[in-house]
Amino acid sequence: MNRKLADTALQIVIHVFLIITVIAVLSPVYWIVIASLREVGNLFSGQSVNWKDLSLANYVMLLTRSDFLLWIKNSFIVCSISTIICLCFTCTAGYAFSRFSFKGKKNGLMFMIIIQMFPSMMAMVALYNLLNIFDRFTGGLIGFNLAGLILIYTGGNIPFNMWLIKGYIDSLPKELEESAYIDGATRWQTFYQIVLPLMGPILAVVGIFTFIGAYNDFLIPSIVLQDSSQYTLAVGLRSFIGGKFSVSWTQFAAASVMGALPILVVFMGLQRFLVEGLTKGAVKG
């Protein structure tokens, strides 16, 4: 009886704590949402909210009279493709670093992680030259466009994702693979049919991480993309405040709010992968 009471009390405490945390975390966003519901003004106009003044005009404008949907589409193309390709490459690479032994295994990974630590500001010029070479090489197919962007995001995320996946696979018990091996499966079959299904949680996390990283980045696309029909969301957003002395705060706020929604949707969709644990389909004994 006491146990149950204590448990319920604990539950309540936890819920209260979580709710307070959520409120604290969301309060800046609250102000952004309020700003987006105003027609004119900026973050400082109207500390007190005049409920009558709020309207959805900005959202309507964004959906009907601007390129917002185009930006979202472009962002989605870039982010999902680079995430998928990156996941494919890093899965196999992570598995190799975890389960195989080969020359350069130990230091190779460390080396790759370290070279990622180069401050990236000057990399712009180098990346530009790189894309230029690609552009000439492929006759404009891959270059200063979304394809070039995909290339950059894929490559940039590989070392770190590889390491994460390796770490995860490291903590998976080896018995499952060993029993499959004994049963006559090839290395690839072991990977593909035993290990891969168990990697759900880490793939979800790595996937989200890569997706969001590419989604929010504005530095690279702003330099790389030439055609305004290829602008991603981040670049499009910058155009609201990149003008002289930020004149379009409210539209910027609305676009940011709407821009955040796809991420939340993606995250919600991948949630169930986060909870699929080892217990599912595990071989006992």
């Binding site: 027609e39 004119v40 003004g41 900026n42 973050l43 400082f44 106009s45 109207g46 404008m61 009907t64 009279r65 601007s66 390129d67 193309i77 870039v78 999902s80 493709i81 998928i84 390709i85 712009m124 010029v125 530009y128 030259n129 230029n132 006759g139 404009g140 197919l141 891959i142 270059g143 200063f144 466009n145 979304l146 394809a147 962007l149 995909i150 702003s222 330099i223 030439q226 055609d227 305004s228 029909s229 290829q230 670049v235 499009g236 910058r238 155009s239 609201f240 405040i241 990149g242 003008g243 002289k244 002395f245 930020s246 004149v247 379009s248 705060w249 539209q251």
Partner: protein
């Protein structure tokens, strides 16, 4: 085992399908090779209708289509710098005139030749600031200068002297209209505060017959210290504002009718119009030495990429964008004051255009045509027209009101200082901002702070030029 194989097959099929889909999406992300001859212009201007009209006229005349790419201002300069040398840049780029020096020095833009006849059509100072080392590097589109913006509800006539302004502001601060404040602006932004430096007689770079001398910086002179002291007095002596005021804060208050006077530029007026605020624009009032503060005058210009493959055509397009007709269109659409004398004298600029959001279903209603500029629909060039973001296209309802706004801006520009366009000027912004921060936060005296930061500017300029 049949069921397992079935599952396997399905998995394979799904995998292949995913692969195909990805490839298709990937290919759609790739670029198409443009074959036709066409010109590309990079700009951050919001006046898309006017630009489209100008390019349509150009295309009708020459048969060459033009593509306008909108790039946000903060990215336009770095993007052009990276793209132009590798032939990925546009043919023309628009930007504030102070880019001329840096771009010319880096060899990114090339000069244009103007006949004397053509040259006289422009406001002299606007051509002067587009020149560097004796050559003209582009044509000016518009002229602008910040000035005093006042809310007519609280201030009926603009103050004539600084003393008057301070008195009015203090009166309002003491509660005359409730919690309305008198006067606020972003003090640490050198772009604005310079006006006081200039008014007291300081100079940024010494003007010599050969042009501005980057090695002679005059921002720590006694006159400069006087100006800095005035700014500090705004906070300490007259209690008009606090140190941390930003343009957003001042702008926000003004929009809320909670600020009587502010010091900002013409680009903010669009929003004030939308809000229905009855405002006035005037030059900043005279200082106690009898001179007007001298705000920085900025010219928006069109520059020619040195790597362009269609030099003659590009220059032609440049002249079209900067023509009188185009400039009037641009004024009517976005409020930018033309740089051409014939455009400035045009009776249409005497009109105060009252903007109203278009209430029609979809699309924009065609311009009333009354006395408005010729605004055409999307040109038939086969290229996607720009979407209007920031400054949206409004149907303009034109009413005939004497336009003090244009008069005010031009007067402000008259007493203003043209922004130096030499590369050395890029080294001035950050140190001066920090000097103003340290002064207004009272961490250093004006004299100390200016001396230290200007020494730093001198060092930075030398280092830049080595």
């Amino acid at each position: 085992m049949p069921p397992q194989q079935g599952v396997l097959l399905m998995k394979r099929a799904a995998y292949v399908l995913l692969l195909c889909l990805s490839t298709l999406l990937f290919l759609s992300a790739c670029g198409k090779k443009e074959e036709k001859t066409h010109l590309v212009v990079w700009t951050d201007m919001n006046e898309t209708k006017s630009l489209n009209a100008a390019t349509a006229r150009f295309t009708a005349r020459t048969g060459v289509p033009v593509k306008i790419v909108r790039v946000p201002l903060i990215e336009l300069q770095p993007k052009f710098q990276v793209a132009a040398p590798v032939r990925q840049g546009p043919d023309l780029v628009t930007g504030p005139h102070n880019w001329v020096g840096p771009f010319a020095t880096a060899g990114l833009i090339s000069p244009v030749e103007l006949t004397p006849d053509e040259a006289t059509k422009y406001l002299p100072v606007s051509l002067k600031v587009m020149s560097f080392e004796g050559k003209i590097y582009g044509l000016p589109v518009s002229v602008e200068a910040p000035g005093l913006i006042y809310n007519k509800k609280f201030v009926s006539k603009p103050p004539q002297t600084m003393k008057e302004l301070i008195a009015i502001a203090q009166e309002i601060d003491s509660g005359k209209y409730g919690d309305v404040k008198g006067f606020m602006y972003e003090m640490v932004d050198f772009y604005f505060s310079w006006a006081f430096f200039g008014g007291y007689g300081a100079y940024i770079f010494k003007d010599t017959p050969q042009g501005l001398d980057p090695k002679d910086v005059g921002l720590d002179s006694p006159e400069a210290v006087q100006a800095a002291q005035l700014i500090l007095d705004f906070i300490k002596k007259y209690h008009l504002m606090e140190q941390g005021v930003t343009k957003d804060i001042a702008d926000g208050r003004f929009l809320d009718n909670k600020l009587a006077m502010t010091y900002n530029g013409p680009w903010t007026l669009v929003n004030y119009k939308k809000q229905g605020i009855s405002y006035g624009f005037a030059p900043l009032p005279k200082l106690d030495n009898g001179r007007y503060p001298s705000p920085l005058v900025s010219v928006l210009g069109v520059m020619l990429n040195r790597e362009t493959r269609h030099r003659e055509l590009a220059i032609d397009l440049m002249k079209e964008i900067c023509s009188g007709e185009s400039q009037i269109d641009i004024y009517l659409e976005g409020g930018r004051i033309p740089s051409r004398l014939d455009a400035q004298d045009d009776p249409r600029l005497a009109l105060q255009a009252v903007l109203k959001e278009n209430a029609g279903p979809g699309g924009d209603a065609p311009d009333a045509g009354a006395a408005g500029g010729k605004v055409s629909d999307e040109p038939d060039t086969g290229y996607r027209a720009l979407s209007t973001i920031g400054g949206l296209s409004y149907a303009m309802d034109v009413t005939f009101v004497p336009n003090e706004e244009v008069k005010g801006i031009l007067e402000s520009a008259r007493v203003g200082t043209p922004m130096p366009n030499i590369p050395a000027f890029t080294q001035v912004w950050q140190p001066m901002k920090e000097a103003l921060q340290l002064i207004t936060m009272e961490k250093q005296s004006p004299e100390e702070a200016l001396k230290m930061q200007v020494d730093r500017i001198r060092k930075d300029i030398l280092r830049m030029m080595r």
